[in-house]
Point group: C2
Chain length 230, copies 2
Amino acid sequence: MAITLYDLCGRDERLRFSPYCWRVRMALAHKGLDYTTVAWRFQEKEALAFANYDKVPVLTDGDTVVTDSFEIMRYLDRAYPEAPVLGEGVSLQRVMFFKQLVERSITPALFKIVVLDLLEAIHPDDRAYFRKTREARFGATLEAVSNPEQGRQQLKQALVPVSAQLKESLFLDGETPSGADYLLFGSMMWAYTVSTEPLVEESDPVAAWFARMLEVHDAAAGQAMTIRDL
Amino acid sequence: MAITLYDLCGRDERLRFSPYCWRVRMALAHKGLDYTTVAWRFQEKEALAFANYDKVPVLTDGDTVVTDSFEIMRYLDRAYPEAPVLGEGVSLQRVMFFKQLVERSITPALFKIVVLDLLEAIHPDDRAYFRKTREARFGATLEAVSNPEQGRQQLKQALVPVSAQLKESLFLDGETPSGADYLLFGSMMWAYTVSTEPLVEESDPVAAWFARMLEVHDAAAGQAMTIRDL
């Protein structure tokens, strides 16, 4: 069956930065599944009407439509059970906790670092929409939310257990990457794609892990276009 | 075979507060294993010489001697594989990450909150030893390390993903507690045993989870002596 991923794009259609889409792309690469992407922009709500959803990622696999990045990862584990990414039972439960850490402690810190770069990476026609929706969510202007120095401090604190674990194992999930690695990588790839701001110190084990993650699965992420290529 | 746990005690021999011993006690309770404890105090190094180790927990199971709380939990999973606490493979890997979070982000915050109460809970003959070793480790006096207000702020931040997950499931590991719950509970039980300082707000899902944890396995922890009983 043909797999299609609706994937957020920026001012260049090849610039793909959504952290939630990156998790799914890495899960697809992990399972060695072929797929095509449809470049999607923030306001193209009608293009997702078939999924009864208003944001990406949306994945179609033949007649099956799945929305929400974590639900897509779970779907892929059910439909293609070899090489699980999330697992089941207590493995799944423990990666659900890790998802909370990524979304509530790490991603907000990254947002403070890259928000203004992110605005620049977005298509000009989407910037007013992005500003309006995000400023309503945060109750502050994007310029007020932007605070790279404070963001880096928060990020460093949130990554303390990640750095410690990456001294013990090559990847968070062991000798090879899986779900926990993809959840964290999605958010870090988002920041890396839109911004040249430093995220972690070069000596931090997270930096070496990120470099490894760019190379895994035939450099599925390392080959992607970033703001450096524009 | 008879199982014996060497377990840190305080100024009353029945006061047991080591976070690392509490993890093991909960793992033993989880597996329904009978065991006896040997009350041990900080300076009784010779009592552990048989284990070639100088701190607790130390567990003996017949002729088997196991040191280090996490290694003991792993041993129990191998020797008594029904009802795993840590699991294996990616489950084990993910709980190893959670251990890092507990030890590096949560326990240090708790220490700032309860350190002076902890000093009071320790046997008078051990207080000079405790002060000397901990002040050397932190490079500061215990009084300088003590900062309950800052500790509570750090704890709240570190518990953000825990609170979020506990809105989704009764326990961190799902509908019933296991390894991740015991790792976090060990540290929170340590603080709760020696101190009446508030740790989290009553409305925080972590508060309700802690109350549940006191009740599980026939109130294995809820029946334990705390500073409130002295």
